[in-house]
Amino acid sequence: MKRQSPSTESSTESRTAQILLIALALAFLAFFLMLPLIAVFSEALKQGLAPFLDAVSNPDALSAIRLTLIIAAISVPLNMVFGLAASWAITKFSFPGKNLLLTLIDLPFSVSPVVSGLIFVLLFGAQGLLGPWLSAHGLKIIFAVPGIILATVFITFPFVARELIPLMMEQGKDDEEAALSLGASGWQTFWHVTLPNIRWGLLYGVLLCNARAMGEFGAVSVVSGHIRGETNTMPLHVEILYNEYDFVGAFAVASLLAALALVTLVLKTVLEWRFDLHSGARH
């Protein structure tokens, strides 16, 4: 309990003003965040549980769910390995051009999702730079799964590295140097010293990376070609159902994605509380 001195009183607002400000903030959040979230679940269950279950167990929906899981299962580990490698090089060594490298890693955050898809079409599409060569060799990247994976890896590129770099910067390299001086090999040092030190930060980055990988729409939409049962991810399936006026179906699949978002938020919050991880402004 803080002592109520006259100066504390005059350096905060009256209780009435506080309640008014809190109410205004909560009303804004209720309107802009809570209401859309409630709308997803309520529209999905509008006609009861049976149509909801039909929609999510429909073969096209199941194949979209499968594809989304496959995309995440491939692109998240790729970015995890990159994030570990990049943060090791950046935080354990000093070399010229480090700031430039950091800026370049962040680059995908400032590119529109649609442009992120477009660049892969320009590179690998039928009219693209490598298009003729690819089609001569019977390879298909655009309007196929490899294109979706590439676009997803691009979009989620900075997530793991961004979480790990500040964390490893803060931890320094004393632990690693101690391990090495005691005779551990480089890999042993990484597995037994570095990895345990950063595991929760790594998990945090992977969590955010995964949420974005499963939910990405714009970039994936440009490269996918929307072939039902083949190149349709969950967010794309939501769009197709919505445009066909199958609103219950669209919201049913959307509610699965919303549930994923809620699980992500809960895990993220738990990690922040328990391990004092920060919550950055740029996701």
Binding site: S11, L21, F32, L35, P36, F82, L107, S112, F217, R282
Partner: protein
């Protein structure tokens, strides 16, 4: 850090830890493959089409209308977020109220919720027959399928950028300066305007710019609520997709290039302003 490196460099090889070649090489190769080479195709393609062709498609009447809409709605939404994001950050940092931790976690919902899900949920709310729309429609206020609807979607998407930028600065701002101001006879409003606001203004500006940059490129949450009428509610990212669907790769590239240059200019200005401020503060 610099003093430590020079000390070490004197009596030990600068690379005590192993793995620099491997991790740096892998990071650079992966960065080039996934980000730099694909992005450079945009520049190559733009350069290849010639200046006149670039201007013809990149600054056509339709493209200019789309830029005006995209930049206009993104600025409007960033302003709304600057005001309410500051309010939310203030309430979360300064006041105690039940459910605060849940509310704080909920602020990140737009980072976690797939954009397409947000898009159909907002449309369900603000369509003329929707939950909110049915009350606005008799008043003659149309939200869905107008620029207001686009702004609403961008407010949703951009809110966490402002809150998460302002929150840490506000939390670090010691109470003592406010108490000093109060002791010197400043009213609460004067303290806010003269002491608190100038201190958080840079963070607020960062949040504003991040929300703006995200809003300009945003696609998934906007296309459902915007109605996509060319010349009226057609945002620039949608115009890129439309050009791609018509196999007009030059058109898509030119518009993407213009948008990307503007985003980079915004972020560059932001970084420049921050480093000027840092230099002025002598930190």
């Amino acid at each position: 850090m610099p003093s430590m490196t020079t000390r070490k460099a004197r009596w030990r090889a600068p690379s005590v830890l192993p793995g620099f070649g491997l991790t740096f090489g892998f990071s650079l190769a992966w960065l080039s493959l996934i980000v730099l080479i694909p992005l450079s195709t945009l520049f190559l393609k733009s350069a290849g089409m010639g200046w006149q062709a670039f201007v013809d498609v990149g600054f056509s009447e339709r493209a200019l209308t789309a830029y005006r809409l995209s930049f206009g709605t993104a600025i409007a939404a960033a302003f709304v977020n600057a005001v309410f994001g500051l309010l939310v950050a203030w309430v979360l940092v300064r006041y105690e109220f039940p459910g605060k931790r849940v509310i704080s976690a909920l602020v990140d919902l737009p980072f976690a919720l797939p954009t397409a899900v947000a898009g159909i949920a907002l449309t369900a709310l603000y369509a003329p027959s929707g939950w909110v729309g049915q009350y606005l429609d008799p008043l003659g206020i149309k939200v869905a399928f107008t620029p207001i609807g686009i702004t609403v979607a961008l407010v949703f998407i951009g809110l966490p950028f402002v809150v998460r930028s302002v929150e840490p600065v506000l939390a670090d701002l010691g109470k003592d300066v406010e108490e000093a101001a109060a002791t010197l006879g400043a009213s609460r409003a004067q303290t806010f305007a003269r002491v608190i606001f100038p201190a958080i203004l840079p963070a607020l500006f960062t949040g504003f710019a991040l929300a703006f940059a995200r809003g300009v490129g945003e696609y998934g949450s906007v296309i459902f609520i915007s109605g996509n009428m060319p010349g009226r509610t057609e945002i620039a990212p949608l115009l890129i997709v439309t050009q791609l669907e018509q196999y007009n790769y030059n058109g898509a590239t030119a518009i993407a290039m213009v948008m990307m240059l503007v985003s980079f200019a915004v972020l560059f200005t932001l970084n420049a302003l921050q480093s000027i401020r840092r230099r002025r503060l002598g930190a």
